[in-house]
């Protein structure tokens, strides 16, 4: 026991008040500052040497009240561009039917046949999985599903712009990144079905993937929580020997960007100079909330400069533009040791999830017109076809093959057992199971012994590896 004087403890001076959080440099001499401001006002706007305001020493002074209000910041690239009245411009290489835009050369696209074809094949695999699993959910064979319809270009394009060892923090509509990295369809389906060999132990809802081998950090449902985590991972990465050439990419939707963690994460990555690419999929909807009710500013991209962050808006349905934007972002993130924000403009063609009927808040016609007008798959396909890299025959073969391997993998996963029941308790902590969990495991073992023969219980038990028999040892241990 400490030999402190207990009688005096309640009356110690409190020296650590919250107000001391204000950085010391803010304790400026206000009298002097006022004098300076007053004298500068007498002179011409903007001519003065910089002031001494602690938050931003290089700010110039204005005397016109009206000119001093503003609600947008224009990129310098817009100055002199008479057409740019719609705010931040969007980077694209292909037009709506997949032809390179005027002035765009093959050198600028910089992709060879095998990579371009792999991109398109992977883009095609997404809807193949989506249609089969969406229907499987409708038939009650899986509990939940979220599709990637309409965002194939944004997701695969970004994946193609990275190295397989770049760290990925995803939201949930980016399973294409795993497919690009050759994550096996068996592992994909095992996660969705909660099978025994699911890398995540069958513990999370479908589509919450994770794989250390693929540098894909396990998805969680709470939105935007991965954003400050990505900032920390980026900081760790640049301090890890041998990983200096890698970046973190952090995906989220425009809805998640309204969470406080978005602000925290971008600000932290910027102040700690961490090599992180923040990739926002602005698909127009957060479930039923249209983007117009999500923000009033110029999308998400307009916020980047507020954090002192390099920012680019890209056509998310132009997979090649997304790829080149991500490549450039990675290069800048590493060479300048700073984060980059990419806003990919796209459209969520599918429902939010299998628990959502989007026709309740938007017309089916609007969705159809998007699919026709601006389809990332059509654009990529035309790009390939124009070069003789793709054909109707290859298209047909790819679709048949995709459907076959997806159905086969689903069939295998569906037949697999669930993880053994005792794993329900494991992994809560690393190291030894705490006493309360041991007791509760024994309690469940005893309940199974008594009631396991109930039809409902036995049917569920039979689905697990070992049919719950692995629990018996814990019951015996408890008795002993």
């Amino acid at each position: 026991m400490a030999s402190s004087n207990v009688h005096s403890m309640g009356r110690l001076p409190l020296l650590l008040f919250r107000c001391l959080r204000v950085p010391a440099r803010s304790t400026v001499n206000w009298t002097a500052t006022r004098t300076f401001v007053a004298s500068s006002l007498a002179r011409k706007d903007g001519d003065e040497p910089q002031g001494h305001l602690p938050g931003h020493p290089s700010s110039v002074f204005l005397t016109s009240l009206n000119d001093s209000f503003f609600d947008s910041v224009k990129p310098k690239t817009l100055s002199g561009n008479q057409n740019a009245k719609g705010g931040i411009p969007t980077y694209r290489l292909m037009d709506g039917v997949g032809r390179l835009l005027p002035g765009v050369t093959d050198d600028m696209v910089n992709i060879d046949q095998s990579e371009a074809v792999k991109m398109y094949r992977t883009m095609l695999l997404l809807p193949a999985i989506d249609v089969i699993l969406y229907n499987a959910q409708r038939q009650g064979r899986i509990s939940f599903m979220m599709t990637s319809y309409g965002e194939e270009g944004a997701v695969i394009g970004s994946a193609a712009g990275l190295d397989a060892r770049d760290e990925v923090f995803a939201q949930y509509r980016e399973s294409g990144v795993l497919l690009w990295r050759d994550f096996s369809l068996d592992h994909f389906m095992s996660q969705v079905f909660g099978a025994e060999d699911d890398l995540c132990g069958g513990r999370q809802m479908p589509i919450h993937f994770g794989s250390t081998q693929h540098h894909f950090h396990t998805i969680s449902s709470p939105l935007a929580t991965q954003i400050p985590q990505a900032a920390g991972a980026g900081y760790a990465l640049k301090r890890t020997k041998g990983r200096e050439g890698n970046v973190v990419i952090c995906y989220f939707g425009e809805g998640a960007a309204s969470e406080g963690d978005f602000h925290a994460g971008l600000n932290l990555a910027s102040t700690t100079k961490s090599p992180v690419i923040f990739f926002v999929r602005n698909n127009g909807y957060a479930i039923s909330t249209p983007a117009a009710e999500q923000f009033r500013g110029d999308g998400i991209a307009s916020r980047g400069p507020g954090y002192g962050m390099l920012t680019i808006r890209v056509d998310g349905n132009d997979a090649l533009a997304v790829r080149s934007a991500v490549q450039a972002a990675k290069s800048k993130a590493l060479s300048e040791q700073r984060p980059v924000l990419i806003e990919a403009m796209t459209y969520r063609v599918g429902h939010h999830s299998t628990s959502d009927d989007s026709s309740a808040y938007r017309s089916k016609q609007a969705v159809e017109s998007w699919k026709q007008m601006d389809n990332p798959l059509h654009r990529m396909r035309n790009f390939l076809t124009d070069r003789g890299w793709w054909s109707d025959q290859l298209e047909e073969e790819a679709k048949v093959q995709h459907r076959k391997i997806v159905i086969e993998a689903m069939g295998r996963a569906e037949k697999k057992k669930r993880p053994q029941l005792s794993s329900l308790f494991e992994g809560t902590y690393r190291g030894e199971l705490p006493a309360n969990l041991k007791e509760q495991r024994a309690e469940l073992a005893e309940l199974l012994e008594k009631y396991g023969s109930l039809p409902g219980w036995s049917k569920e038990l039979a689905k697990h590896a070992n049919a719950g028999k692995d629990m018996e040892q814990y019951r015996e241990k408890q008795q002993a």
């Binding site: 026991m1 030999s3 402190s4 110690l12 929580t225 985590q229 190291g431």
Partner: protein
């Protein structure tokens, strides 16, 4: 103090003022296998990070099937009353984290305990919330080994053995408990009539719980089975405080041994007030009074 100068600004650095960001950032670092020791300036301001701690850090290992873990993360935060900290520089927050599987929660009582338990927390393979009673920062002084050492987590310590009643506490209120023992055995003349001769010789067992989650149920239950009586003392409000969990467990495991109801002495079920702290916190007199009631039941 001096750590940044010794180890460099890339290892010891300021963050922007954002608790959810600090913890999220620490999770990201730990996820990459780095040791991350995050500080939240006061326990009172840990709530913006509640989502990151409860939904993320605590569940990271479980939800990923053990593929990803943030066991290298330790979150330090000053806690408990300080004399005049009022609502937002006084709170005990351990009870908010007690029902969160996957998390460890630790509160030391002295410099030796603080060093040994913090070293263990940093090295533990699980995320730890380490709450430091700030009133002891400068008042508690003892000889602390300069060498490396750790104290075990999830192990309560019997600070003083006894046979008549078990007193359980953690952090700064342990000192009020010691003071209460002195009052009980030798009450000031003005209030001596409230302390019958029979209870003054009571042999009291004092336990420092040290780890709030997962807590040492064995040591506590063994003690109460022996003494048959139990008083639990914490600064947090009584309703749904850590004492409620301990009491519920003890009535289950020690039902046949109990000779008096388990008593909880804590803050009242109000926000922590500025003036009136003496009457809000479980001071020695209140603890001594509870001991009399428990011993004479």
């Amino acid at each position: 103090m001096g750590l940044a100068e010794t180890y460099g600004r890339d290892r010891v650095f300021n963050t922007p003022l954002t608790e959810q960001g600090i913890v999220g950032f620490g999770i990201g670092m730990a996820d990459m296998g780095h040791t991350a020791i995050a500080e939240v300036q006061f326990g009172d301001y840990i709530f913006p990070a509640f989502d990151q701690i409860v939904n993320e850090a605590a569940k990271y290992n479980y939800r990923s099937g053990g593929q990803f873990s943030v066991g290298r993360l330790t979150i330090r935060a000053p806690c408990q009353g300080v004399g005049h900290g009022a609502l937002y520089h006084s709170q005990s927050v351990e009870q908010f984290f007690m029902p969160v599987p996957g998390l460890k929660v630790v509160v030391p009582r002295s410099p030796i305990q603080a060093k040994g338990l913090l070293a263990a927390s940093i090295r533990d393979d699980n995320p730890v919330v380490f709450l430091e009673p700030k009133i002891l920062y400068r008042s508690s002084v003892e000889e602390v080994p300069l060498d490396d050492f750790t104290l075990p987590l999830s192990k309560a310590e019997v600070v003083k053995p006894g046979s008549d009643v078990t007193v359980i506490s953690w952090g700064a209120p342990l000192y009020s408990c010691i003071e209460a023992l002195q009052v009980l055995s030798n009450p000031p003349a003005s209030i001596a009539k409230h302390f019958p001769q029979g209870v003054r010789q009571a042999n009291i067992e004092l336990i420092d719980l040290r780890t709030i989650l997962p807590w040492d149920r064995e040591t506590v239950a063994r003690s109460v089975a022996k003494t048959g009586r139990c008083v639990i003392v914490h600064e947090a409000p009584v309703t749904a405080g850590v004492g409620a969990e301990i009491a519920a467990h003890l009535q289950k495991t020690c039902f046949l041994n109990l000779e008096a109801p388990i008593t909880r002495v804590g803050g009242w079920d109000t926000p922590f007030p500025h003036v009136g702290e003496l009457f809000y916190k479980p001071e020695a007199i209140r603890i001594a009074d509870a001991l009399v009631k428990c011993l004479t039941f």
